[in-house]
């Protein structure tokens, strides 16, 4: 027996390691493990399956017995003292804790294989504590009958303490083989003595040789659970270790990360090529203010009403803002099924302005949703409700109202799940025909109110698996896990930090299948919300607006301009997302509806019906995170003003989900195959070899706003897979200069294969501001580092074409001619400088002569012309004068927007925002640099003149529209400034000159 065991352990080791002694042991369960193992032996629940690979028998007497034995096998371990001798004769020891896996061969024979579960380097801090096992102690610690029968003759308990490595816990074992224990301890002592004798104070010897044995280098993709959504969209480069030329960082860590991304991207190909099952989802959120249903909810539940039909949102190309840099392309862009949709392909312009109504009726609206998820808040405001009432009368009432809202379609739906926590209720309705596709429905709730106990704030959640119907290609489709969270966060304007904290608290503690509100113990079963293929978060999130009350109301009341986007800049939820304080990684469809809060009949209210005592706000929101595998396309996002029974208006959204129909076992086999192909990079004998060609690339002309792209080929000329990444020249520096981008920035290439890296030179305003004053010849050397291999240099060069865009006004006025003809080294002296940049003046005077009768000048989009850099004549207005005028206007706007500093100097902006009248505003111009004043006067004169023209639009409306258009350009926010200026104040300053 022990001979085969020794051979099995020896099989694990490489030739550089020596097996000294082995010892059979049994792991002592930790207190947190006890519950699950005891329940598994008394009942036949499956909670011990996480430990065991083979117990899959049906429930019953025999199976239960077998299971007990299985639990015993699960605790079986082999402790092995392993010695590593390096080429200089230095010895290092390590205790491996090996765990058996039973493997059934095709012939039916069962063999045991081992893997290294833990590795304890035998360093000076490493200790073993030994105690005579006392039966009654053990009986108490493990109450299961299985453990009882096991402990018949336990002799010793052995506790391994890792010592210096705090990340590893102590582990205890029971040992019966006393004779071997002696030689085991003797061997450990010998190696520890060596380690102590060799140790230098303050240093820790390298134990890198154990790394390939530790199993957690395996990618998490091998797990059946969905990938953590927080990592799903993270660019790989954020995870890689810090490295630079000559300092390769942590090659082993980087290799494992690059490899995992590589496997994921290969698996993604499988997803992309598979059939996509469609799932139509409707989500609603409604704070009902304690009311019982008293109105027709059909508009909210089904989206059917005349008013809504006109407000249909154009389907946006809603891309994730954190597209995987590098290996994995944005899934939504890549998914062929989605790309085929004509409305998405044509959405280029529409995505810019979500508020533009689309004339076409909502074709998808007739398609009934497959799944309806409705979140309610403030279901019951009575005091007794706070005490976790178990009554369901309110739930029943709202379920009935929702069903009634479905009208004649109600018969097609039934309730799939619901979860209530005091005032919060989440209802999930599914189409009857699809009901059997939804499985593993779990619910959870968590309180976030008074000390997390009272249920007045918090969240309820439903987690479910949706398995597409089996197809010929996929007999057992892998189910997709969908998670829905309905939250009610802390109220009041100033409680924004509380809301952010509530979000994090709920995200951490809302656990499905766990041990309850307190959260499960580490290691206990339970899934958190991030373990999903798509996560939807809805509710009364209670985020308000940072602008003053009067400004919010004035902007909402303004009928000349759609101010919703400007207001949403100051929305607390958007700010929290921008600054990563809460809801990081979540996507929200652009809002085009008015605030959903607060309306109160009878109370004093403004003309739009908003309560005068509460600042109007978008408190009711629906956000989501897709995984890279599930495509989520939002179709609508609306507020239903016609449902007036509460002080909130309900909000709804429709989504199209695309779930790949992919065979589970096929997927697993694919992942295993990929893993096998690339798993042995670290311990391969060969060093990776790479060729990067060409070693030098000339990109030719590099122009502002005109990206140029070339590719280089990274070829693996060696015999082992290679992991590469670009590294910066200096620590913490960028891998590329601002004008250059390399994609992918890291990757894996198998022997004999190659990968193309796209090098894109693109100069935006920020890069141009830097390049316009530098040398015209651009050259950058990129350093491509191969893990365990060499650094390759890649020289990228090009000729920058200077532009007046992103050139400061002070520099423009001193240029002796158009920027491309002028010698940049010879600026005019100050006394010969122009009074204003001729580039701006040419555009203004052209518009004065040819464009003043164009009604929507500056307001309609145009394709900017670029004759400014060369000094060529601006085109003469011909037949297409309107289009040309719009283009010249767009060019002027772009020129002003690209200025390195806004036309109104940042340090004067707060004063400008406070200018009380025209006189004060003109007074402030004295603080502007001379050329800026001249541009300001010319520009505002043009705008003033435009507003005087007799056109279809009343002058006063045009003034407001133009001021709204120019305010964010001329008084661009200073990122360094702590307090943003209200858009209303900026517009007022411009209007002092234009009106």
């Amino acid at each position: 027996m022990s001979g085969t065991l020794e051979a099995a352990i020896r099989d694990l080791l490489r030739s550089s390691e020596e097996l000294e002694v082995i010892l059979e042991a049994e792991a002592v369960p930790r207190p947190s493990d006890t519950d699950s193992s005891s329940s598994s032996s008394t009942s036949t629940s499956s909670s011990s399956d996480s430990e065991s690979d083979s117990d899959a028998g049906p429930p019953g007497g025999f199976a239960a017995k077998k299971r007990r034995r299985g639990a015993q096998v699960d605790r079986k371990r082999v402790l092995a003292v392993v010695e590593h001798v390096d080429p200089y004769g230095e010895e290092q020891g390590c205790v491996f804790v090996c765990k058996p896996h039973r493997k059934e061969a095709d012939t039916g024979t069962i063999t045991e294989q081992y893997s290294v579960e833990h590795a304890f380097p035998i360093l000076s801090g490493f200790t073993i504590a030994m105690a005579q096992a006392r039966r009654n102690t053990l009986d108490l610690s493990s109450a299961s009958t299985a453990a009882l029968t096991q402990q018949k003759s336990a002799d010793f308990t052995l506790t391994l303490h890792p010592g210096h490595d705090l990340s590893q816990r102590s582990i205890a074992f029971t040992i019966q083989d006393t004779p071997r224990l002696k030689s085991f301890l003797g061997e450990v002592k010998r190696l520890k003595d060596i380690s102590v004798a060799n140790s230098e104070p303050g240093t820790t010897p390298s134990y890198s040789w154990i790394l390939p044995y530790i199993s957690d280098t395996k990618p998490s993709i091998l797990s059946a659970e969905p990938q953590d959504l927080r990592n799903a969209h993270k660019p790989m480069t954020e995870l890689l270790s810090e490295a630079s030329a000559g300092s390769p960082g942590n090659d082993a860590l980087d290799t494992s990360i690059i490899r995992e991304y590589w496997i994921r991207s290969r698996v993604q190909e499988l997803y992309d090529s598979s059939e996509q099952a469609s799932l139509k989802l409707r989500i609603g959120t409604f704070n009902v203010n304690g009311k019982l249903p008293s109105q027709d909810l059909s508009a909210w539940v089904r989206g059917m009403s005349t008013e809504d039909a006109n407000k249909y949102l154009p389907p946006l190309k809603q891309l994730s803002p954190f597209a995987l840099e590098g290996i994995t392309k944005d899934p939504m862009e890549e998914a062929p099924a989605l790309r085929a949709e004509p409305d998405i392909a044509a959405s280029g312009a529409a995505s810019e302005s979500s508020d533009a109504p689309v004339a076409a009726p909502p074709s998808g609206e007739d398609d009934d949703p497959d799944l309806i998820v409705l979140g309610f808040q403030e279901l019951d405001l009575s005091a007794s409700a706070l005490l976790y009432s178990t009554e369901t009368t309110r739930e029943d009432a709202w379920l009935a109202a929702a069903m009634a809202g479905l009208g004649e379609k109600a018969v097609e739906y039934e309730k799939l799940a619901s979860k209530q926590l005091v005032g919060m209720l989440l209802l999930v309705l599914a189409k009857r025909t699809l009901k059997d596709c939804f499985t593993a429905v779990q619910t959870a709730s968590v309180g976030a109110g008074l000390m997390g106990l009272m249920g007045n704030k918090g969240a309820v959640g439903v987690r479910l698996a949706f398995a597409p119907r089996a197809t010929g290609a996929a007999r057992t489709p892998r189910p997709a896990t969908l998670t829905f969270v309905n939250a009610h966060l802390a109220a009041f304007d100033e409680q924004v930090e509380r809301r952010n904290a509530d979000f994090h608290d709920i995200a951490r503690r809302l656990v499905f299948g766990g041990a309850g509100a307190a959260g499960p113990a580490p290691g206990a079963p339970g899934a958190h919300i991030w373990q999903s293929d798509a996560l939807f978060w809805l509710g009364d999130l209670n985020y308000r607006n940072e602008l003053p009350d009067a400004d919010v109301r004035a902007l909402l009341a303004d009928d000349a301009v759609d101010n919703v986007p400007a207001l949403l800049e100051f929305d607390q939820l958007n700010i929290a997302r921008r600054t990563d304080r809460a809801f990081a990684n979540f996507i929200e469809h652009p809002i085009s509806h008015l605030p959903s809060y607060r309306f109160s009949p009878g109370a004093l209210c403004d003309n739009l019906g908003y309560d005068l005592k509460r600042k109007p706000a978008w408190t009711d929101r629906i956000l989501y995170i897709p995984s890279v595998t599930a495509g989520v396309q939002q179709r609508t996002y609306r507020c239903h003003k016609e449902i007036t029974m509460s002080d909130h208006r309900p909000v709804s959204a429709t989504f199209d989900l695309r779930i790949p129909t992919i065979d589970g076992p096929q997927l697993e086999a694919r992942v295993q195959g990929l893993w096998k192909a690339v798993s042995h990079i670290e311990d391969a004998e060969d060093i990776p070899r790479v060729s990067v060609e060409p070693a030098a690339i000339d990109l030719g002309k590099i122009e502002y706003n005109h990206p140029t792209r070339r590719s280089v080929v990274v070829r693996n000329t060696g015999r082992v897979p290679l992991a590469y990444r670009f590294v910066a020249h200096a620590p913490r520096g960028p891998i590329c200069p601002s004008w250059l981008h390399a994609d992918p920035p890291a990757g894996l290439v198998r022997p004999g294969e190659h990968e193309e890296i796209a090098l894109t030179a693109s100069v935006d305003a920020r890069a141009a501001a830097e390049l316009n004053t530098g040398p015209a010849r651009l050259e950058a050397t990129l350093v491509l580092h191969v893990a365990r291999g060499k650094d390759s240099f890649l020289v990228v060069s090009g000729d920058y074409v200077r532009t007046c865009f992103a050139t400061s006004i002070q520099r423009l006025v001193r240029l002796p001619g158009p920027i491309r003809t002028a010698d940049p080294g010879r600026l005019l002296p100050d006394d010969q400088a122009a009074t204003a940049p001729r580039e701006v003046m040419r555009l203004v005077s052209w518009l004065m002569s040819h464009g003043t009768d164009v009604d929507d000048l500056f307001l309609a989009p145009g394709a900017p012309a670029q004759a400014l850099d060369t000094g060529a004549e601006l085109p003469e207005p011909g037949a297409a004068r309107r289009a040309l005028a719009l283009s010249v206007a767009a060019c002027l706007l772009q020129l002003l927007a690209a200025l390195p500093e806004p036309l109104v100097p940042p340090h004067l902006q707060h004063a400008c925002a406070e200018a009380a009248d025209r006189e004060a505003a003109f007074e402030l111009l004295n603080g502007f640099p001379g050329a800026n004043v001249n541009v300001w006067i010319a520009l505002t004169s043009l705008l003033h003149f435009l507003c005087q023209q007799e056109t279809g639009t009343p002058g006063a409306v045009r003034v407001r529209q133009l001021a709204a258009k120019f305010a964010p350009v001329l008084l661009r926010d200073d990122p360094a400034s702590a307090k943003a200026i209200s858009p209303l104040a900026k517009r007022r300053f411009i209007m002092h000159f234009v009106a």
Binding site: Y88, H164, T204, Y207, A243, S247, G249, D683
Partner: protein, 208 residues
């Protein structure tokens, strides 16, 4: 029981003086008549056993000699414990280039860096343009180590590296010595960085 010390060594010098060949001879005891120009920087390790029972493990960065990559050299000699500046005895211009590298090292590298001046291609002494006296005199003035080598025949190669190994200070703890060599190195616990280095040992294959 042998004590091992780890040091970062960088090779500098004009293109085509034989830096990579010198490393290949030192690490693998091989020679290629036709070697491609290095575009980048190759990382290799080799250990030298000393008579006093200690051993010195060199982490060698073999850098590209071409002028266009010169701006990257500081990244590789940053934190280096020793530098081997190579010239070609048949090209007097290459000694000039070596002088400029030495001036740069003296100005910008770690002040404690040990610099060895190495005249390579001693097998081609018939075409010699740089006399031993001239180079030696210069080395003495600047306080450098000096030696002539032939990567082709192997003559003098091990000697120069062994001399450097002897001269390196060995008072500091071994693993702390090379602390700067690889950023993000030991933070306690198992050092994952030394993965490649720890396994290869004497017969570390060339990675270029």
């Amino acid at each position: 029981m042998s004590k091992q010390f780890q040091f970062k060594l960088v090779l500098l010098g004009e293109s085509a003086v034989g830096k990579s060949s010198l490393v290949l001879r030192f690490v693998k005891d091989q020679f290629d008549d036709y070697r491609e120009s290095t575009i980048g920087a190759a990382f290799l390790t080799q250990t030298v056993a000393l008579e006093d029972g200690t051993s010195v493990k060199f982490e060698i960065w073999d850098t590209a000699g071409q002028e266009r990559y010169k701006s990257l050299a500081p990244m590789y000699y940053r934190n280096a414990n020793c530098a081997v500046v190579v010239y070609d005895i048949t090209q007097s211009a290459s000694l000039e280039k070596a002088r400029s590298w030495i001036r740069e090292l003296q100005r910008q590298a770690d002040p404690s860096i040990i610099i060895a001046l190495c005249g390579n291609k001693s097998d081609l002494s018939a075409r010699r343009q740089v006399s031993q006296e001239e180079a030696q005199k210069y080395a003495e003035e600047e306080g450098l180590m000096w030696g002539e080598t032939s990567a082709k025949s192997g003559e003098g190669v091990n000697e120069i590296f062994t001399e450097i190994a002897k001269k390196l200070p060995k008072n500091a703890p071994p693993s702390a010595r090379a602390g700067g060599a690889r950023a993000g190195a030991p933070r306690g616990g198992v050092d994952l960085n030394k993965q490649a280095a720890a396994q290869g040992g004497q017969n570390e294959p060339c990675n270029c």
